[in-house]
Symmetry: C2
DNA sequence: TATTATTGTCTCATATTGTGACAATAATAA
DNA sequence: TTATTATTGTCACAATATGAGACAATAATA
């Protein structure tokens, strides 16, 4: 929207991002709220005429989270006609004061490429964009009703994350550099939505040879201090 | 292209399809050749203004293969700027006699949603579209050089198919209704690109409880006749 | 009737996972 | 100092799953 006189973005193409973070024992995602509408939505955006699709998404993520180089993966492209609802977009633009000749292209039909990202919750102070007045973390199993098909997008993102859990070293992106075995297990449990057996989990993870063991962490609790681990960057 | 006076399709959005079939011992895909260019490409198409993305792809598949109701799954959306090559598209349209005011939108940049399909090789007589003079089967490991990033699209389709092999009952789509254990194993081997152990494979598949055993097939070969199986439609 | 190629099934060895037991702490309470 | 408590790191054993080969049962042919 930096040049109000001409359309700098590809028409009909948008992206939406499901940004996962882990805090305490819960998996959360970032949700925005549009100005004066009460409507919640996933952070999204458009692709510049001369910009790679993947780059556009990273740009948007950087603007929203301040983070570069985060884990980001495309998982599905939503293209049903039923996504097309010009009235909703019109209201959003109107309420933000952005409805004009230069933004009418936004009222057209869009096909949206959906991505999910994994970030370290504590590294981030989310920033809203021009159209929204807030952005914040919501627990994955206590989301508000989202606009259009965004709840479905989240469901599919979570399913993809689960399917990829074994293959993609998910923890490396959701945890700080040093963490305990217990913390890693909590991440897995939050994603899978089920309890795991401590001994089996520990043996399995250690057998993968992807963890490096460091000194113990003395937590002040009345129990044996756990080792800290980090991921073996290969 | 049925109405030459106006643009009936969404701009900037295309799809490409990797259509797998299995014949003998080889996995194959359908490749088209454009008129008078020597260029090979995946079958693709555009989305009508008022059409679901998935429906558009099924429509294209129907036109190319005559088949309805086939296994079809989206796997990635390709959106790099480097895909943008108006000269190539211009040549294709020119050679087909389709270059005109009503087709200039095709010279624009496109983001392509890629799908893979699984079909029963013997059910199909492929038909070329307006822009191409041939469409035919090519073995997956003996493909010609394809246009743009189409070789990369195929590679990714194959990887997705491998990743999904366990979860999606692939054989059901690539084989006729009745088949032997050996034939099913050949499908798995062709997809994975490696030999499997006969006894282990048989035990594994049977333990899934998805196969129904029928009478034996007498092949005329000098050996024990194998049972025929079909998939348990659930 | 013997021979040949292939199939269906079994057995045993090996690897992986489920489940519980237990000793080793690190703080706190007695 | 000495129990007590909660949690952690490991081990042991059972239950399953998988790898690898053996072998008998065919269906045609010699």
């Amino acid at each position: 929207m930096e040049s109000p006189e001409e359309q700098n973005y590809l028409s009909h193409i948008a992206y939406d991002s499901v940004i996962f973070g882990f805090s305490g024992e819960k998996l959360k995602i970032l949700i925005m709220e549009y100005h004066n509408t009460g409507w919640y939505a996933l952070p999204g955006g458009f692709v510049r005429l001369n910009e790679d699709l993947n780059k556009a998404v990273r740009r948007g993520l950087k603007e929203r989270t301040g983070l570069d180089n985060i884990f980001l993966e495309q998982f599905y492209t939503f293209g049903d006609v039923s996504r097309y609802n010009p009235e909703i977009m019109k209201t959003i633009l109107t309420q933000s004061g952005y409805l004009s000749d230069s933004t009418t292209w936004m009222l057209d039909r869009f096909i949206s490429v959906a991505y999910y990202a994994l970030i370290n919750y504590n590294d981030v102070v989310p920033k809203p964009d021009e159209l929204s007045d807030s952005i914040g973390w919501y627990e994955i199993d206590a989301l508000p009703d989202l606009m259009l098909d965004h709840n479905e997008i989240v469901a599919r993102a979570l399913q993809t994350l689960r399917d990829n859990l074994e293959r993609k070293l998910v923890g490396i992106n959701l945890l700080p550099e040093f963490f305990t075995m217990k913390e890693l297990q909590l991440v897995y449990e939050a994603i899978l939505g089920e309890k795991l057996r401590r001994t089996t989990f520990q043996r399995k993870i250690l057998s993968l040879g992807i963890l490096k063991r460091h000194e113990k962490r003395f937590s002040g609790m009345a129990n044996k201090a756990p080792y800290l681990y980090s991921f073996n960057r290969s």
